[in-house]
């Protein structure tokens, strides 16, 4: 090995730089960049959440109540784009940034400067996206899927498309970084099949990101040229087909769905063993299940399009392929339950969120199975049933996992304990109101209420009012979360131990709390007890 060159270049070897711009804008530190990602995601979570509040307020009663229909459509469109690309995905990237190097014994991400670029693109991209709200003609309002020809009527399409290009570039670079970190930066002895499941889940997610974000870029580029350069990709008069856009979009869109849930699976697979004080049940099965879900995600996209008039054979193929996903997902759910089985469990806030994840995500999975059936989907398509389904997998799934991870690792990040009492208050409020919010939407959908409408038949009034009340209170509950975070970061007096949780395994618990600005200047020697899975080979 050729290194006259292993000296390291830190000008800031023993701590973070004092200069604000140097620390946060020029960072090559995975912890600082991870923190930036997490703060950005939290900000976007509240912005996207405020859009959702507008939607639920308008739907509180039938009839046009508060806002104009176009503004309502802007809200549904931007709520989705902000939550998906601004809140959920950056939150996972932030968690990955913070934890993956700690979990595999790396000093930092493999390409730290590119890591910084990945983050800093995002605030600019969302400035561009949200600025369209204030432009003449308004923002995109055709739904986050931006289906032509409707989306081509948006007068600010170019801004939206370029914002999506920027987000895509950011995600691809972030994913490349994560793959290079996991494959190239592991400490000696941290074999692939000894890595924590969270690291595995991110490795596979990163592959999905690199594979499908460019496809989204291609799809929106075609929208751009159709609107501004006179091409005819989606115009049947010129030989094109609007359904083509749906195929390309959902070839991105379905793996994207798993991009938003696989890291959540990873998080839950860390939290449940810790608080059950048992190793995860079926480690390899968990890893292979994630890999199979990722593979299947590429061959199920048309289940979003059952009603566009696909050939029958295609409908049937995509129906069965979709149902197949229930198998590896079922493996995961059963393994989480088996991990808890016979464990000496305690119910701290992260564990509460993890357990509610397992139950509520499973409900979302079952409604997904219902939607997968072609004849049934003809009834459910584009109704509130779909809205209920994907909010069960994204809110009680992805979001609850992110919140669980935040409570789980917050003491490691800050060196202080959060308030367990207020954490539990946050949990019980969230878990109750989220069900009040989304469960009635199943009934609304089955009764035929279409999604993305500012007004509705009076027959749907009661459930909508219940759902709105749940929505307001769920939104308010997240302010408790904000309070717990602020208290923990700035005011908490209770110091966290290095191994914060009694049953926690993994390298991240071997470093001090708070994790010092630089960890692992040299590759750590891994001891048997540090590993969450597997044994140390000599």
């Amino acid at each position: 090995m050729s290194h006259a060159a292993t000296h390291d270049q830190h000008d800031d070897h023993h701590g973070a730089p004092k200069n604000f711009f140097q620390r946060w804008c020029m960072s090559t530190n995975h912890k600082d960049i991870g923190t930036l990602y997490l703060i950005f995601a939290l900000t976007m979570f509240f912005i996207g959440g405020s859009f959702a509040m507008v939607i639920r307020a308008e739907l509180f009663k039938p009839g046009l109540q508060l806002v104009q229909p176009y503004f309502f459509n802007e809200m549904t469109t931007l709520h989705a784009l902000v939550m998906i690309f601004g809140a959920i995905m950056p939150a996972f990237v932030g968690l990955g940034n913070w934890m993956i190097p700690l979990m595999v014994g790396a000093p930092d991400m493999a390409l730290p400067r590119m890591n910084n670029l990945s983050f800093w693109i995002l605030p600019f991209a969302f400035t561009l996206l949200l600025s369209t709200l204030f432009m003449p003609g308004g923002s995109a309002a055709g739904g986050w899927t931006m289906l032509p020809p409707l989306s081509l009527q948006s007068s600010s399409l170019a801004y939206t498309v370029f914002a999506i290009h920027l987000m895509g570039i950011s995600s691809i670079m972030g994913a490349i970084n994560i793959i290079a970190t996991i494959l190239n930066m592991r400490a000696p002895g941290m074999d692939l099949l000894k890595m924590p499941v969270f690291v595995w889940s991110w490795l596979i997610t990163a592959f999905l990101l690199i594979a499908v974000m460019p496809v989204l870029a291609g799809a929106v580029t075609m929208l751009l040229t159709d609107k501004y350069f006179g091409t005819n990709f989606f115009n049947p008069g010129g030989g094109g087909d609007p359904v083509l856009y749906q195929h390309i979009f959902w070839f991105f869109g379905h793996p994207e769905v798993y991009i938003m849930i696989l890291p959540a699976f990873g998080i839950i697979s860390e939290v449940i063993p810790t608080f059950s004080r048992k190793p995860i049940f079926g480690y390899k099965a968990m890893v292979f299940a994630i890999a199979s879900i990722a593979f299947l995600s590429f061959i199920v996209w048309a289940h979003h399009m059952f009603t566009v008039g696909l050939p029958l054979g295609a409908d049937i193929f995509f129906m069965y392929a979709t149902m197949l996903i229930a198998v590896p997902t079922g493996v995961k759910v059963f393994n989480w339950v088996s991990t808890m089985w016979g464990g000496s469990m305690t119910f701290e806030t992260p564990m509460l969120f993890a357990i509610s994840f397992v139950i509520l995500f499973t409900i979302g999975g079952f409604s997904g199975l219902m939607l997968a059936m072609v004849p049934a989907d003809f009834q459910y398509h584009d109704t509130y049933f779909v809205v209920a389904h994907f909010h069960y997998v994204l809110v009680t799934g992805a979001l609850f996992a992110i919140i669980s991870a935040t409570y789980y690792w917050l003491p490691k990040w800050t060196g202080r304990m959060y308030s367990e009492f207020w954490g539990k208050v946050h949990f019980w409020n969230s878990v109750i109101w989220v069900n009040v919010l989304f469960f009635p939407q199943h009934f609304l959908g089955l009764a035929g209420m279409p999604r993305r409408v500012p007004d509705y038949n009076v027959a749907f009034a009661n459930f909508n009012m219940i759902s709105s009340i749940g929505g307001f209170l769920f939104g308010a509950s997240q302010l408790i979360f904000l309070g717990v975070l602020i208290h923990c970061v700035f005011f908490s007096k209770k110091r966290a131990a290095d191994r914060v949780w009694e049953g926690a395994k993994g390298l991240e618990w071997t470093v001090p709390s708070p994790a010092p600005h630089h960890t692992f200047d040299v590759p750590p020697v891994i001891h048997e007890g540090d590993l969450a899975h597997g044994h140390v080979n000599d």
Partner: protein
């Protein structure tokens, strides 16, 4: 993998990533403003776009300059080298998927949407109700759809310039490989000759491509507006041409770096990354030649 690392390397702080985010934002903001501008009001967007674009070029120059300096100072160990290699490979994979979206569109249109518009299959009634006169075909007769968007046009003959361009790109792949072998053998003169040849072949390709576009617009009436045929033709060949342009610039930069003696036979990731990129561009062209020009 497989080697032991005595110590890890983490690069020093740098303002280039932040600068990059700013100039990328400036560029796309300018471009979007320009596209959305009222007719006659194009000044502001174009100006911002130009500033952003110049900024992007300056950013690339500055960022790469600092990385090259660190590399020449011997800061990068073999682990960093592996990270760079993985980064480049996965970047190329993302580019493959980007082209995949456009090839997918081409296949879908040729296999499904155009035949369906022509009445094939029983599921789609567009033919029956809207354009029953339309006989589906690809190319000059039906490629611009039932409304003949953009008017009658002719396609570019595969066995003229495109064939020549195929031969040019294939030879350039050979010359860049010879240069690579020369680099490993340590013959700088031979590298410069063959790498220089590669740059020239790339430029020649772009020159012919420009001729082809001009001819398509002037003689064949094949334009971006020529229905979905024109859309797929120009988007696919255009994005490929953009990548050839980028590749040629990168090869030229590498040529100057060889001239300045930046590489040795064990340490030449920059050269290899660009060579990989060039081969990737070459492979995409072969697919283009097959599916856009010949078939």
């Amino acid at each position: 993998m497989g080697q032991q690392h005595d110590a890890y390397f983490v690069p020093a702080k740098s303002y280039w990533p932040f600068v990059a985010a700013v100039v990328m934002f400036t560029t796309v903001f300018g471009a979007a403003h320009w596209l959305n501008a009222e007719p006659g009001d194009t000044g502001f967007g174009k100006t911002v776009l130009t500033i952003g674009f110049v900024g992007v070029l300056a950013m690339f120059f500055g960022w790469f300059r600092s990385v090259i300096r660190e590399s020449l100072a011997g800061s990068y160990n073999s682990q960093v080298d592996t990270s760079f290699r993985m980064g480049m490979m996965w970047f190329i994979f993302s580019e493959v998927m980007f082209f995949g979206a456009f090839f997918g569109a081409l296949f879908y249109i040729r296999m499904f949407s155009v035949p369906w518009l022509g009445g094939e299959g029983r599921g789609v009634l567009t033919h029956e109700f809207l354009w029953s006169h339309y006989a589906a075909s690809w190319g000059a007769d039906g490629g611009n759809g039932p409304q003949h968007v953009g008017g009658a046009f002719h396609t570019v003959a595969a066995w003229g310039l495109p064939l020549l361009n195929t031969l040019i790109l294939l030879s350039s792949s050979v010359t860049v490989t010879i240069a690579h072998h020369a680099l490993r053998a340590g013959h700088r003169g031979k590298i410069l000759v063959f790498l220089g040849l590669t740059v020239l072949l790339g430029a020649l390709f772009l020159n012919f491509q420009a001729h082809e576009y001009i001819e398509a617009y002037r003689e064949l009436n094949l334009t971006l507006h020529s229905g979905v045929y024109g859309a797929t033709f120009f988007l696919l060949t255009g994005f490929h041409g953009l990548h050839v342009t980028l590749g040629t610039i990168m090869l030229a930069v590498i040529w100057f770096r060889v001239l300045k003696g930046h590489f040795n036979k064990d340490h030449h990731f920059g050269f290899e990354a660009v060579a990989w990129y060039w081969h990737f561009v070459d492979v995409v062209w072969l697919a283009l030649f097959m599916f856009v020009y010949i078939l």
